[in-house]
Symmetry: D2
Subunit: 324 residues, 4 copies
């Protein structure tokens, strides 16, 4: 039996990727799609490669009043837009909010699915982590849980592909200006910082007051790599071992000996973590890689939907990454 699924924000990159994953999900049926820029057009016009069974679905203008009966709704709206948009969705519709408005908000589970699956199961409202937090926290969690690094002294140098900036930014992120260009932005004041600080504190029990976060736009479409510089006396092997234990049996986390590359994850819900430490210098480098639209958005969202619907969490997410 299929669950009835809707997506709001289908015109954006996150919503589009949710469409792709829902289309391939054996227990989900996409029955509703809404989008600002594409309302009125067929899904097949917007996504010429969409499955034939979905091509005729007409994209709606979002209106919670006319929402059809749904089991699950994925929301992928710009920051600031989803709080209001989702307030009037009926309680019986489970929601996974890929956008940023409900992270660490009362009544919403924080959907860091590989770290805290038990906090998500049984809930009806899940706030998906941001793409940077997905890469960052997945790599840091085992170290923080084992007290291998100081929570108050973490520097995150993060790099993202340009789809991470969203489609709305077309003007700013035009091809000719962005290609062959590497751009630091949002130094020390990125919108993802509070979410990362809070999670670090919950994982470690200590303060994350010294957190430094410097994101960079990289001329590629997908992919996030976070390189984190931490204080700690662990060896590389101790860090890898902590991660292997922490993620034992977790399907989507790969702990690797060598530094992970963003392309390893493209199109998948995988996260790759690795470490390089130098105890003599009191240094641990942690690295996390995700596809910003996969584990960093729609992949993690489907995993969260699986968890709250009582499905095996890997359902519909088994696809291997696309290489090259």
């Amino acid at each position: 039996m299929s669950l009835r699924v809707g997506i709001v924000g289908i015109s954006g990159f996150g919503g589009g990727e949710a469409m792709r994953l829902v289309a391939g999900h054996p227990s989900f049926e996409l029955v509703y799609a809404a989008g600002e820029g594409s309302a009125g057009s067929r899904l097949g016009d917007r996504f010429p490669g969409a499955p034939a069974t979905l091509a005729e679905l007409v994209i709606q203008k979002w209106d919670p009043v006319t929402l059809p009966k749904l089991d699950v709704l994925f929301a992928s709206l710009p920051t600031g837009a989803s709080a209001e948009a989702l307030a009037r969705v009926p309680k019986e519709v489970k929601i996974v909010d890929i956008g940023g408005d409900h992270r660490y908000v009362e009544g919403w589970a924080y959907g860091l699915a590989d770290v805290w699956p038990d906090r998500i199961e049984g809930r009806t409202r899940v706030a998906n982590p941001g793409c940077f937090p997905a890469a960052t926290l997945t790599a840091l969690a085992p170290l923080l849980a084992d007290n291998l690094i100081e929570p108050g002294n973490i520097v995150i140098d993060a790099k993202t592909g340009i789809s991470g900036a969203g489609r709305g930014g077309g003007g700013t992120f035009g091809y000719a200006d962005s290609n062959e260009n590497l751009v630091p932005y949002g130094l020390l004041k990125h919108v993802h910082m509070p979410e990362m600080a809070t999670t670090i504190e919950r994982l470690s029990g200590g303060s994350a007051a010294g957190l430094v976060f410097a994101p960079h736009l990289v001329p590629m479409t997908r992919g996030v790599l976070a390189t984190m510089y931490c204080r700690g006396r662990a060896t590389t092997e101790q860090c890898l071992d902590a991660a292997r234990r922490f993620y034992a049996g977790r399907a989507f986390i790969r702990v690797t000996d060598r530094p992970p590359q963003t392309k390893w994850a493209t199109g998948s819900n995988l996260a790759f973590v690795s470490y390089a430490a130098d105890p003599e210098r009191n240094l641990v480098i942690a690295m996390g890689v995700v596809d910003n639209l996969g584990k960093g958005a729609a992949g993690q969202a489907v995993q969260n939907a699986n968890l709250i619907c009582g499905l095996p969490e890997t359902t519909g997410l088994e696809g291997a990454p696309v290489w090259p």
Copy 2:
């Protein structure tokens, strides 16, 4: 029940994509992989994102004598290498040769699966079309079958992503020399020409003597677009209509009103065809788009394997393209 599958040429791009598709195929089990450059390593070393169930498979040096019991073997070897390599494979092993050596060779079906599926079913040896022919012939077939264009007067201007040149060409196709560069090559003498000419003749019954083929390398990883300039008096609508009838019920062909873009197909087994005609100028422009590693190689190969194994031809190939 799963069929036992092997892949030879796993180090190349076509073999790697076959691995990805076989891994996600519900009736195939990958039990054997061989590769020149990667023999001795684990599949998980070569493909860090490979499914955990395959990660421990050790890549072999190719030797038909030590081949395990297989139902299907995919071969993806450089031109000139597969004829000899496959000669001693036991008859009961079905083979799909992604490489170029067996196209239009006695005893081998030519695997243009969406055009001639009935010539493939029941066979045990299939030669997969090249990536350029896959894009080109899929778009031309309906026009040739309906005599809407002259077979002897076709100009093919073809553009391919750089993975189409194979991994062996690393030295030639280094990043810094290839990026931001558009390169015509192999004018009038490309290895795919005879295969295209023969197919055009079989489809039309006429001579393809005037065929012109000009391939170009485009700075992108995947994708083929063939733009074809033909002589004919049909209208655009007549061409589209011919294609819709020709491919009625075919799962992987999309006939589109607007010119197709290569990214529509990325990661999928889809082919997109479209047309723009001007009867007053005796002109029909035909366009075909495929992912050179999908419909142009491993996707079509799996479709062919499905056909010769008596499976529904879409099995394991339902995934929507990855966008963006």
Copy 3:
């Protein structure tokens, strides 16, 4: 002694490249810059790498009434905008219009500088050719002049980097949608067609009625390659020889034995032409490569300005292409 130079349209790619070339020109001094999107800002804000001597120049809102005394004005405005904008510029200001409004317009020389330099010298109004015509006509001119091809039967398959679409198209040409994507557009109805047809007719004396033009967007920033399929009985060597004679002594044209690559021209005012012919098939393939912002826009514009100012035409344009 320096000539006083102005640029209108400095916010666009063509205007920006004109700024770069004027800055390096020994006889030009940039004293005025106007731009829609950047009026009020310093040139150094817009172009952080601009020469220190220009950084403080404040970009103006275009208004011909407040124009300072100028010797030369470069205009790089969107199609449709320059006719009106330039109508009231004083007669004594020489104008090179990089935009499309004045091509083959009464009173304006058509600035195909390497083919017809003598029609440009002594003029005060020059309409710069479009980027596609620059690549196309440069390669075709010697063949047409020697009657080696039929003027009425030319197919132009043209490929351009995305800066060729202009900066205004940021929304349409966002990075994530354009990267790894090859896009045909404007089939048979591109705005550059009349200009090419007219020039072909003037060069050959015959009709260009059968002209076919199919442009494609390629995922790279700069570069145009035109591949042209023509009817003719010449050999490759005859075509090369015709071009070598036609362009003898011309500084910016390179006739090459092998097919030209777009990156050969990046950042320069060079054009590369080559040919591959097969007399038995009545076929001549002509290829032309330019940088769409160099010979295809600002480079050619500076060359034209040199011609009308009585300077050696290579002044300020000697820089070798940037590779890789």
Copy 4:
């Protein structure tokens, strides 16, 4: 009067860029070029866009015995190859070694031209800094000179375009594997580390023992961005002010309020530096951008050659960056 110039290592990216700059230099004449992979071919075959005056120069196999009379030799050889190759070059030939073998070697000046021009003038042997050190040290020097940061506690997260890995690595850095991929490598053990540590110590007078260096390959051709995390109590404005004073009157250094982007420098000898500090967190982020083939290699080399030849240091280096 022109100085006679030679280049050894013309087949590599650094040697090729040196060729481009020497070709445009008013006081240099290229009379000799040597290269491993291209010996015997004409310069015009290797660089189709090379100035016509250089096209006929035949590339030699390197042999110091048959060296013609030269005033200046640029060497751009792989690490480990230049020490021996240059040992027998006559003393009267001035050498700028772009390769790594002579940095902080007895008898060779370290060519950090914008920081220590006076240590370079009058010398005959100059070791050019590596591309990472050029970006890193240019941004750090003013802070270290003013004691605004602790020298022993610097984390360098560096990102380079793929030409920084050299052309020899074609196999490793093939287009399809490198495109859309972000790759950390050489963590904590990169060959550029000692050079950076030594320079930091000389600039500060303190120990650089805690230096952390993590380089990353970014899918673009040119450009280096170093993001550095330092300990210090200065404000952003104090850092910017220190840099403006330190580099007052230096032609190639741009101190910018906003974070620099790699494309600002493409094709030029410019370096961009900026800072973002938070005294409450004892944090200074320093950023440096260079073109790895410009200020990071051939541009700096020409600047050094100007210094040792008694020419104005900007000669031949005035060209503005190529954008976009």
